[in-house]
């Protein structure tokens, strides 16, 4: 097992006209499960391929363990990779597929190879498939074989390139748990690439969010969720996405008020609770973006239910999910989402009232950098708070 380090790694294509990865530095601890997440084309797969040795970085160093691997062939790096399309060898049966790497890279006898293949097959519950060709397997079974091919070699690190994206939703969740379980059991350093923020949140010890070839933030899932470094991370992590509205800080009656810049008269009085955060680096006249997580939005049918400031809106669509309902409504020409309890299901077109606690507020400056992120010890806290309850804003830049 080994740690993996990327030191100012860059990758440009077409003589530098396309920069896929830009000055990326990352350290993956021994036995850690790191998820690289980001939208398509953000450079996450290219990063993984550079670690695998399938692409050469145009700048920077990559090391696995204590060895700098920039000039090593993929086979010399002692890593295993699971591909999005599985990349099983179609002319070999499952047994040969799993044993292929051992035959090439070790001096093990046929009997030893056979034994290890059988062991891995039973770990993945594909023992009865060993003599079948990949073509005759289902997607989930092919996925297991691909996993087996990686595990059997007992490598320094596992690299996963969107391994679950070709599976249906149910199987994906099942395999997600299974991959996490196996990784924990084997304790192999793993890098997992996905565009699915839910996979990232549930699987990673830490997640690294990338966009446009640049690392946006790296941290534990809850930390990234609660304290995103910028507006991109805030919008990307979390489903449904964070609600945002562009606003301007103004002074009104001696209070600092965030006022929506669009026609809709959305305002949020930062000082209403009397608990002003003096450190909040917002000047009057600053353009900011206000963000609230869907689960932090409090919706009530009656305005009287709120003690403090609240707003009135019209329900657009209600999506019942069983465990809770998603309500869509417009705020400052943006569509907002609220996650509410399943009992609250107003007709679309009805007038409702919403608010959110001061502590749930995210504020991003004009560059999108987080000025303040939410400070709720327990996300459920939001639901109990029906009015803006002041608190110390956490400044996270």
């Amino acid at each position: 097992m080994a740690q993996i380090a990327l030191n100012h790694v860059s990758k440009a294509f077409n003589n530098g006209s396309i920069v896929a990865v830009n000055d990326l530095s990352l350290e993956i601890e021994d036995e850690e499960f790191l998820v690289l997440v980001g939208p398509s084309g953000c450079g996450k797969s290219t990063t993984l391929r550079m670690i695998a040795g399938l692409e050469d970085p145009t700048g920077g160093d990559i090391s696995i363990g204590t060895t700098r691997v920039n000039n090593l062939e993929p086979r010399e790096r002692d890593i295993a990779m699971v591909f999005q399309n599985y990349a099983l060898y179609p002319h070999m049966n499952v047994r040969e597929n799993i044993g292929f790497g051992l035959r090439l890279s070790t001096d093990l006898s046929d009997a030893d190879i056979e034994e290890r293949v059988e062991d891995v097959a039973s770990l993945l519950e594909i023992g009865e498939l060993l003599d079948k060709k990949p073509k005759s397997l289902s997607g989930g079974q092919q996925q297991r074989v691909a996993l087996g091919r990686a595990i059997v070699r007992d490598p320094e690190a596992f690299l996963f390139d969107e391994p679950l994206s070709n599976l249906d939703a149910k199987l994906r969740k099942q395999m997600r748990t299974e991959i996490s379980r196996i990784q924990e059991q084997l304790g192999v350093t793993s890098i997992y690439v996905t565009h699915d923020q839910e996979e990232a949140m549930t699987m990673g010890d830490r997640i690294a969010v990338m966009n446009d070839g640049t690392l946006q933030q790296i941290g534990e899932p809850n930390e990234v969720y609660n304290h995103p470094a910028n507006q991109f991370v805030a919008g990307f992590i979390g489903s449904p996405s964070m609600n945002t509205v562009e606003a301007e800080a103004v002074r009104r009656d001696g209070q600092t008020v965030l006022e929506s810049v669009t026609s809709d008269a959305f305002t949020y009085d930062l000082d209403a609770t009397g608990d002003t955060n003096a450190d909040l680096p917002i000047e009057v006249g600053d353009r900011v973006t206000v963000g609230v997580r869907p689960e932090d939005v409090v919706l009530r049918a009656e305005a009287a239910a709120f003690e403090g400031q609240h707003h009135t809106t019209t329900v657009d669509v209600v999506e019942p999910l069983g465990s809770d309902n998603l309500l869509y409504f417009d705020v400052g020409s943006r569509t907002w989402t609220a996650r509410v309890s399943p009992g609250f299901e107003p007709e679309s077109g009805t007038s409702v009232h919403f608010s959110f606690p001061r502590k749930a507020l995210y504020i991003f400056d004009e560059e999108g950098t987080t000025v303040e992120s939410r400070n709720l010890a327990d996300p459920a806290e939001a639901r109990q708070v029906t009015h803006g309850d002041g608190g110390d804003g956490v400044v996270n830049t």
Partner: protein, 283 residues
């Protein structure tokens, strides 16, 4: 049925039997001359030219016996044809596979132009290059050798072979080779153990094209060979003599030329049609 008639605007029976009728006409068009050749090779000379032709007659194998046992037997020609055809196939498939792989996988600047240049060499008619090649061959002492004919045939087959093999390699996902390289294979091993087995059908198809070309070639064989290395088409042409055409042997020779190709075609047809990457990748 009424629904489908409405949608296509054709009456039901035409839609249903039309394709068969069309294919039947094509089949007769293609097969009748071959059938004629085959039965003529079994007729004595007199009945060969009877009109109306007889369908029932006493077959004779005399021409076939003559062909192998009589004067100027066809056996050496047959052996030459086999040597040249196999040599051409081996050379075309090996070079075509390597070239096609390169064209498919390498990230070359101007790859399109290179590919077009390769196929453009095939655009000149054979007669244009025969004379210059003759002079070159005479300097290189390649006239009247099997190797000379194999090289000439390969030159003309190779552009097709490269293009064909390139399209077969294009079908093999690169991820398979990448997986192999991570699994511990060198680039060469990834090519040999993963990609190559998957383009087997392509190599078969390329071999057929090479063999058919070489087996049927007349011009190169006529110009570049003499007694020791002449092939079957030359043997057939020599039956047109100053004293008359030996029609029976012409027909029998035709059958002998045709038979190996037909047998070969039937055998490999099944392999050619079978799936190429065999479900390698779930897209």
């Amino acid at each position: 049925m009424s629904k489908s008639t409405a949608s296509s605007g054709l009456p039901g029976p035409v839609r249903r039997y039309g394709p068969y009728a069309f294919l039947g006409v094509v089949a007769i068009w293609t097969l009748l001359p071959l059938f004629w050749m085959a039965i003529s090779s079994l007729k004595i000379r007199r009945s060969m030219f009877e009109f109306p032709p007889t369908i029932f007659f006493d077959p004779t194998l005399q021409y076939y016996v003559d062909m192998f046992m009589g004067s100027n037997p066809v056996t050496p020609f047959l052996i030459n044809s086999i040597i040249v055809a196999l040599g051409t196939a081996v050379l075309s498939v090996s070079l075509g596979t390597v070239g096609g792989y390169g064209l498919s996988r390498l990230d070359l600047r101007g790859k399109k132009h290179l590919a077009f240049w390769i196929i453009s060499t095939r655009m000149a008619p054979i007669v244009v290059v025969v004379i210059p090649l003759f002079y070159l061959y005479s300097y290189l002492n390649l006239l009247n050798t099997h190797l000379g004919l194999i090289i000439a045939h390969t030159t003309f087959n190779l552009p097709f072979a490269i293009w064909l093999m390139r399209s077969f390699f294009d079908e093999v996902p690169e991820a398979l080779e990448e997986a192999a390289r991570i699994d511990g294979a060198t680039k060469w091993e990834a090519f040999r153990k993963v990609s190559l087995p998957l383009v087997w059908p392509g190599m078969g198809a390329t071999a057929i094209i090479a063999i058919v070309f070489s087996w049927n070639d007349f011009i190169f064989a006529l110009i570049f060979t003499s007694n020791a290395t002449q092939t079957m088409p030359i043997a057939a042409s020599q039956l047109v003599t100053q004293t008359g055409t030996l029609w029976g042997r012409v027909m029998a020779t035709g059958v002998v030329i045709l038979l190996p190709m037909v047998t070969f075609g039937v055998i490999v047809k099944r392999h050619l049609v079978s799936g190429l990457t065999m479900g390698a990748v779930k897209e």
